[in-house]
């Protein structure tokens, strides 16, 4: 994409309404725009990140055999009356009356809809287990929407629903989903801490939240300091059993008098909740009549769980975890563009164009800084938008045939020839490298 052909929506100053870094940088780099309180439009730059996150979530859900479907945003109130949640949900549920005076609602979650899909089509243990998910807009009428997409009203959620014959089967599915979530956060470049949580309005017996540690997190989490070392150590801890031995609770579950840890053993941190999983047995299948025939010919209610990832919130959480005073530092797995190219002086345009076309031809997402701007302005904008790698073509190109690669995350600069720059980029930004199908290469260009 060329800057000159883009809908660029950069803001020079901090908007008044932004109180945390992610909200500020999303507005300043032109990722989102508020349409009304807690409701945002996603501008082209922001949508690319949102879609990249969705795609990682999709791949990891498909990997464990979950199948993608799509619930409508609006649901009939009758279905929620059947489950008994219509009255419970309170003012966060957006209630709507249509032209025929039928009661609808904008789904804040979709246990009822997916239980309905299940009960219509699945009748035998032979068809189990089943797991459906969708990535769809939800609405919760927060009394005080704030922090941009971190606590918006209309938000994108991945929600999955599992159906098993037995409680043991359902718990095995729960453990599989736990692992899928750890993989998702790992691929996003995030360290997520799984903590025991209360089940709230979803209900059930077993529940974990996944938190990203950040000073701006709205939750307080308490966990065994020993957890930090297995998580930062070599090898990814992703199985639920890796975490079972450690104390880790969200604030609503933490009872200081009952906590086995004290002093330096107990970590207390702020966390951003980016995932929440539930095992709730037959809480929905019984009232909604989702029964199957078991091996003995008995009709039994199906054992269920539900599993949510806050996809739009993750955009904010990722920025909270990856920014500095100049702007965003996107992890390569979700960056809107992997590489930005800037010609910094007259006579560098052809080289910039050649590199841009070469990268595009190889499937690399490249952004061309081709506006008539000072080098300083280009540096500032590339830093703010957070492209992981910048190719800078300046006077050194004209005098010595060398250009600079800048690594946004570290600030490191590498001088090299255009050929070396291309192969260096391919090692890190080729589609199959970013998607994890190929390991990143290690061929470093020689320093100039």
């Amino acid at each position: 994409m060329r800057a000159s052909a883009s809908f660029l929506a950069l803001l020079r100053d901090n908007p008044q309404e932004s109180h945390i870094a992610s909200h500020q940088w999303m507005l300043r780099s032109g990722m989102i725009q508020q349409i009304t309180s807690g409701i945002y439009a996603w501008l082209p730059l922001g949508l690319r990140v949102l879609n990249n996150i969705s795609e990682i979530v999709r791949q990891e859900q498909n990997r464990i055999g979950a199948q993608e479907a799509l619930a409508p945003t609006l649901q009939p109130a009758s279905l929620w009356k059947q489950s008994g949640r219509y009255a419970d949900y309170g003012k966060e549920m957006l209630r709507i009356v249509d032209r025929h005076d039928h009661d609808l609602l904008y789904g804040p979650t979709a246990e009822e809809v997916f239980t309905l899909l299940f009960r219509t089509h699945i009748h035998s243990y032979k068809q189990l287990p089943q797991c459906l998910y969708n990535i769809q807009w939800k609405f919760r009428d927060e009394i005080r929407p704030r922090f941009g997409v971190m606590r918006g009203r209309e938000f994108l959620m991945k929600d999955a629903y599992s159906f098993d014959l037995t409680a043991d089967g359902a718990k095995a599915t729960y453990a599989q989903m736990f692992q899928s979530y750890m993989r998702i956060f790992h691929r996003l470049g995030l360290t997520a801490i799984p903590v025991r949580a209360s089940t709230g309005p979803i209900g059930g017996d077993l529940s974990h939240e996944f938190h990203i540690v950040a000073d701006t997190g709205e939750s307080e989490i308490f966990y065994d300091a020993a957890l930090d070392s297995p998580m930062s150590g070599g090898g990814i801890r992703e199985r639920m059993s890796d975490f079972n031995g450690f104390y880790a609770c969200a604030d609503d579950q933490h009872k200081p008098e009952a906590c086995p840890l004290s002093g330096e053993q107990l970590r207390t941190k702020r966390g951003i909740e980016v995932g929440h999983i539930f095992y709730f047995g037959t809480k929905y299948s019984e009232p909604l009549d989702a029964f199957v025939m078991d091996q003995k010919g008995n009709r039994v209610p199906v054992e269920m769980g539900s599993y949510g990832v806050g996809v739009s919130r993750l955009v904010g959480a990722l920025i909270e975890a990856n920014h500095d005073e100049k702007g965003i530092k996107w992890p390569i797995s979700v960056a809107p563009f992997a590489v930005a190219i800037a010609g910094l002086s007259k006579g560098t345009e052809d080289m910039a164009e050649t590199l841009y076309q070469s990268l595009l031809n190889q499937g690399v997402t490249a952004f061309m800084m081709d506006l008539d701007q000072s080098a300083g302005k280009k540096f500032a904008d590339m830093d703010m938008m957070g492209f992981p790698y910048h190719i800078l073509i300046g006077s050194k190109w004209l005098s010595q045939g060398l250009l600079d690669i800048k690594i946004r995350a570290t600030g490191e600069i590498i001088s090299c020839t255009p050929t070396d720059a291309l192969s260096w980029m391919m090692d890190r930004c080729a589609p199959e490298v970013i998607s994890g199908k190929k390991r990143p290469g290690s061929s470093e260009p020689l320093a100039g």
Copy 2:
């Protein structure tokens, strides 16, 4: 995907509520399920088709330089009061009141939102032209929702919004969008007839609808019989200028007394409206204050157009155009899976598995009919679900080492070896062939 691991939702009988073929086959093949009147969930099989159509629309919109963004589903009433449409839109607009008594609405279209995005960020002729689009769920509270996704209430629309400095520029953009639409319908395997149309609640000076001819269409269209021959002739007519000389009107624009055609020269057909484009000048930019500085330093209202494709309706229209008494015949460009594989007798399982894995490894979307069912049931289900190509492995494999390829569209059967079957499939179903990046091969296997 294996049938045994799928959320299959096939119905044996015609559901009572379906009165047209597309609705019937979408329900019977388990593509959708009604959640309440005019509101559907998309089951895994249906969602794959919906996503394939969206992706073609996306590629063709990107090709003309339009940029993808995403408006929220809910919009503030205040914005529609500013444009003057809040009162006009009537009962089809779903009006909502939130917990703070603010008036919201579920967007039936998004001229106001995109005009707001534009006016916030674009201020100079130097940044023009701009064209943004989104593929997002819309809601129109139809008094009588019917025909499944053809006239649902919650529906998926691609809507684009263009911004030009001058009327001539806007008309050139309009012509470019016209061509993009013809390409989209062509890639979907549909013949769309562009007709002059009234501008309705969107307003404006110039408007075309794109209709798919089908007996079940809700509109009546009148057009020059000569149009049929250029459209079915060699080479694709896709430029607006190719159509300018021909009379073609929707019913609301057709005046028998003013029509220059008569007798056999005038075709009268039923049509399904799948696209609608508008040029409306400054109708929104003036009230919504979307002005830019022109070359002379004057503030001028931007010239706009909007352009819609009914993405979810296209699923129905495609089935209306591609079905028989056995079910759906998907064009390869949108098929949920390109190939189905069925082992029809004991001893064929290994060959079926080998072919399935080989196709998956090459990126072909393959569906494995691995349920314990009779050959007849497998034939019927593959036909109903409409997979373009079926690989049938039966007694001929055990006796002669041959299997059958069945072409769903024509019923033609080709006997060949597994190696020939694989190369035949790659010629037609490889991802780069389906996406049009590579021409379909012509290497036919020898008949067995």
